[in-house]
Subunit: 485 residues, 2 copies
């Protein structure tokens, strides 16, 4: 049997190469590929023996070509290892070059998605990266040990296609955790594991919203949800937020919303915690009885003052709440595991739709997470992080009081991974731009407003920073704002 | 600082429990949760010390409750380990119970998604599961070794938010591989890593198709692509396929399609390989010059006869081909890594859109896959699998000739992970239903047709089966068809 690979052969046989010697044809193929950026530093070339068989030439010919390429600096050969490309041509930066050219050819929905979406690039936390857990404090050793165990597991189970709803062990672990700690009342059959809460939101809005359907969001609102709503064609209605959370409007002339997207545990971005009274109003209001309540409980593991209030899902007796959660904050972001808890009647449709979107979640990360939760490490980790984050939150509040007296908090409670503050400045964006030059990362408040009542301010993350960085950051911010006084 | 968790406290304080003793309140909480299915066998309860602090009762009270629950059989206590739920109530099967109830409330797009999508549940391969790689033959030891190394890597890089376009190392490895082995000409900047080729297709169709846009697909066509197209609102036009692949129609009165979705490497499901002549026609046809060509190269690593023909992406000089690939067949399905190669002008929009859909791919699997490719294990594995699959393909062809003479192949070439056959039967679906009872899995041909020229037949997978299973399966199939003669 001969198995020959397409490229080398077709390149080798190109008409424009026909006047060249066999050796030179190989050389010109590699030079061309490096020049065009198709091959770059560190890329492995086929072993000379293998390439000789594929091209049906003598091995001496291939050796001669590789030797010439090495002399020219295109490749390096490491004895016993292989032949590798040694150069990367300066990138043509394909992204920027002709990006505008084709933009016009996107679909209407595509253009909206692209126009409203922004790329997050928060790979490492600085002062004051918001929403970023303390990664070094994660119990890496335990995680590694579980991972090693799972990597040894039965390959037929671990590597084949999986349950599109999510690994059953993980769904059990999540439902048990949610019941005991978040007052969410669900069985594992109601849970769909997703790659992120963002994927859950996209599925929910795609499946439940027809173009033009009215949807309530809190104003200001989480960008990821807003973008997904706009892309699903929703008519988004911003509802004001005060220090007790969303101000549920009385039954009005307006049509009842198809969906109300809420963050009752810790309003994003203001940090307000929805009062018990308003919670009961939402789950019992006759006006909202045909409304789907999407409860995004993105970081409510982290409350530092009083006990967390019960989730809307647990209070709801009508089966209208879809609960969305993520492990990005409570474990780590690159895990890519989120989940939603659905009313039983929606489960089958959502599982089918999920299959058509991206199949099913990957096995390994689900299996590790399931055991991490089931063995009690997850709740232990959360307890530890609460202690750590409480002290960092206090450090930030003290530092702000001392060094940045010109800002005030949007919510009096200590919770989550950031403190949101307002300031009497003309533009939070301008301050953030200057702050960036000074090495400070400030996530701005004003762009998150939908109506015209935007306040100026920033979300100041504390969870990923030690106390020294928090203090230094606060001093810098204070100087920056004083410079504008 | 006191940190108390919502559920236990709120359950404990419920009005309907107020007449009960403290111990009995704890017991009734657990009994109720087990009865409702919120807690099930193996779920861990809080340590008595911790729960006592949270509930502000004495530890003796909690111990007494746990003791009573153990006596009743609700929990088991393991010394030095913890307290676990011992029962799972029979599932109420939430999925089925009220699934129909809410179906009517889905959005139009949601209903279409659900109506056209089907759940795949192919976790283990039987005769003749199609499209399933041989998992035991995968070099697990090498994979594990790389995984262990990656798990030890810098947590700040490994655990934080990642590049929404995909890990740069993985994009480099893919572009080098695609250039050398698939004749795809691209730089790493043109690649977007996805969780599957399905996610890539969904993104492509969402971003490029407006409702009503005409889209060509091969007839018969891959269900996953068809579903994603319908859900994006495309006006799908099926184009017939013969033994040389899609029969590109001459420039006609019909509007040129916005997209042509093609599987030139190994037509799905007939197995035809698109001839070089037709490839050139597609990439040069003036009628198609504003058409996006989506080239789904789902299994073309596996050719067993002659050399693979160059990809359309490599032949195209107009920058109109989007190339889609997956590691589900060439590595393993539960990895969940696919990718697309975009014309440079589309990259920025797609990366932004990807961010709004599910953020970015997980770190660990990307990092392992990148090193697996860069170290040469991937191409070595493919070479080995080609040898293995060739012998299995031959075994299936011989077994069919001997035991199932009533079927004939739709394509003469040996490629991919399955052989597609036709048969002179009234309904391939009926045969598949009977076959299932006999322990045979037959993926049917007729449902994949769009027009009314459906042929009856099946895709017979061989890649995950040893020769004995292949022969036994063929005998069974032969008897089954003879019984209908």
């Amino acid at each position: 049997m001969k198995t020959r690979d397409a490229t080398w052969l077709s390149l080798f046989e190109r008409d424009e190469n026909s006047h060249l010697s066999l050796t030179e044809r190989i050389c010109s193929t590699v030079r061309g590929a490096v020049g065009a950026g198709y091959l770059g530093s560190g890329d492995r070339l086929p072993a000379s023996r293998v390439l000789a068989i594929d091209l049906q030439v003598s091995r001496i010919t291939v050796e001669a070509a590789y030797g010439r390429l090495e002399a020219e600096g295109y490749v390096v050969r490491r004895v016993g290892d292989g032949t590798f490309v040694a150069l990367t041509m300066p990138s043509t930066d394909a992204r920027r070059k002709s990006g505008r050219l084709i933009q016009a050819q996107l679909s209407r929905r595509g253009s909206e998605l692209v126009a409203t979406g922004g790329c997050v690039d928060a790979r490492v936390a600085h002062a004051f990266t918001a929403g970023f857990p303390d990664l070094p404090a994660f119990p890496h050793e335990i995680w590694r040990r579980i991972a090693a165990r799972k990597l040894r597991s039965d390959p037929m189970i671990a590597m084949g296609y999986g349950d599109p709803q999510g690994l059953p062990e993980l769904r059990s672990a999540i439902s048990s955790y949610l019941f005991q700690y978040r007052n969410v009342q669900c069985s594992p059959e109601q849970i769909v594991v997703t790659t992120s809460s963002q994927q859950a939101l996209t599925l929910i809005f795609t499946l439940l919203i027809d173009p033009g359907d009215p949807v309530w969001v809190e104003d200001p609102c989480y960008t990821g949800a807003y973008t997904a709503l706009v892309s699903a064609g929703a008519a988004v209605v911003g509802i004001p937020v005060d220090e007790k959370g969303i101000c549920v409007p009385p039954a009005s002339e307006r049509p009842a919303p198809k969906i109300a997207y809420l963050t009752p545990g810790h309003q994003y971005p203001t940090g307000a915690i929805l009062s018990m009274e308003r919670r009961m109003q939402i789950v019992t209001d006759a006006f909202l009885q045909n409304t789907w309540i999407v409860e995004d409980d993105y970081d409510s593991e982290f409350r530092y003052d009083a006990q967390a209030l019960p989730s809307l899902q647990g209070l709801d007796k009508r089966g209208r709440v879809i609960y969305v959660g993520t492990f990005s904050k409570s474990m780590f972001p690159s895990l890519r595991i989120g989940y939603m808890v659905l009313p039983p009647g929606l489960v089958a449709s959502f599982v089918t739709a999920r299959t058509t979107q991206d199949g099913h979640p990957p096995y390994l990360s689900q299996a590790i997470a399931a055991e991490f939760i089931a063995e009690g490490h997850f709740t232990a980790h959360i307890r530890q992080m609460r202690r750590l984050y409480t002290s960092r939150c206090d450090c930030l509040l003290e530092s702000l009081a001392e060094h940045v007296p010109r800002v005030w908090r949007t919510s009096p409670e200590r919770a989550g991974l950031q403190v949101t503050v307002c300031a009497d400045v003309p533009s939070d964006l301008n301050v953030a731009r200057d702050a960036k030059k000074a090495g400070l990362e400030l996530a701005c408040l004003s762009p998150l407003y939908i109506g015209d009542s935007a306040r100026q301010g920033w979300m100041l993350g504390f969870s990923a920073l030690d106390n020294a960085s928090i203090r230094a950051g606060a001093k810098k911010l204070g100087r920056l704002l004083d410079g504008r006084a």
